[in-house]
Symmetry: C2
Subunit: 205 residues, 2 copies
């Protein structure tokens, strides 16, 4: 069996941290200035931003459809089409977070959960990871948005979603990445719906 380990290696280490200074701390976000020295003796400073990891979900509805959100974000002062996602609470595991966020943001809960990978969002400044989940067997419920959240659910066919992606119309990097990771998994995932003879249909993108 082929290795499924991601292409990420801890060694050989290139930098050693000799000192770190917290420049700012607001809520769960912390900014550090690290003094680092390389294996060749070169010394420099490096910024490091501490952010919570998050979970991002590819929720597959019946009839080859995805559940997206049309999401307003203050930092970009606008709306973009995203997959449901949210930051992990302290001590919360990625899958627990994924289940909670899908329910809170869209109202849907899912029977089947598969972790299909993880990603570094901005490794030049932060070790934050996005944990990507495929969710199938969805059941509709009621969304419970936070008072600061402004988002609406959008149901989009699998075909249309990948079309938007390849046309460069999806601008949320984690959404694009998660859909790309899901592409192969979707081809392998039997539909949760069965036809009249009890056969599973495979999803085709």
């Amino acid at each position: 069996m082929k290795s499924t380990r991601p292409l990420f290696r801890r060694s050989p280490k290139q930098w050693r941290m000799t000192r770190t200074r917290q420049v700012a701390a607001v809520g769960n976000v912390k900014l550090h200035e690290d003094d680092i020295v390389s294996t060749t003796g070169f010394r420099t400073k490096h910024l490091r931003l501490s952010l919570h990891d998050f979970a991002i979900i590819v929720p597959v509805l019946d009839k080859n459809r995805f559940v997206f959100i049309w999401n307003y974000r203050h930092p970009i002062q606008g709306w973009e089409l995203e997959l449901p996602a949210g930051l992990m609470d302290d001590g919360e595991g990625p899958e627990t977070c994924a289940r909670r966020e899908l329910r809170e943001e869209t109202g849907y809960s899912a029977r089947n959960w598969t972790n299909i990978g993880w990603l570094h969002t901005t490794p030049g400044i932060s070790a934050q990871r996005a944990h990507v989940f495929l969710a199938t067997g969805l059941r509709k419920g009621k969304a419970r948005l936070e008072p600061y959240e402004r988002m609406n659910t959008r149901i989009i066919t699998v075909k249309k979603a990948y079309q938007l992606l390849h046309e460069g119309k999806l601008v949320h990097s984690s959404t694009v990445s998660a859909l790309s990771l899901a592409e192969k998994a979707l081809l392998r995932t039997p539909s949760v719906e069965k036809d009249s003879r009890g056969w599973h249909h495979r999803r085709h993108i």
Copy 2:
């Protein structure tokens, strides 16, 4: 002709900023705490991180190969496989940045440049964008790394790169996104090599 505008809208605005406070400023990175009020009168605070935009390049070499870098990053304390990329200098345009970074990080320069989209890296906290470029017609030169950069060029076939992507082995979100945006463009891009009869071959992924 179909619209190629990305799915990103500035209106209707959901939040108005009533006050902003700079919490930290280190080099080009600034952290702000914004007081915001919603259209319904709800008041809250929102963190906003100011980061320079960056350019990320999909460099297509002859024989259906890509130029990647195996890059050590201090914040993640490890190596990952990435496409060449770099932050835009003050006043620098995305394409100028892309040309400079490809040359500095890999030594390659490219005859043909196509902007194939842009992405928000972490819209929950920052308006930073990644500008994605397809570069073809490559010519080898000498890399000029910054003293703090630790990276090595890796030549990888187009087929292998998309295989790694779909297997979840690429962990750099912007690299995964850029490759996804490039997928359709690559099918449209005639190879820069001609066969003996002068015909362009199309690249197949």
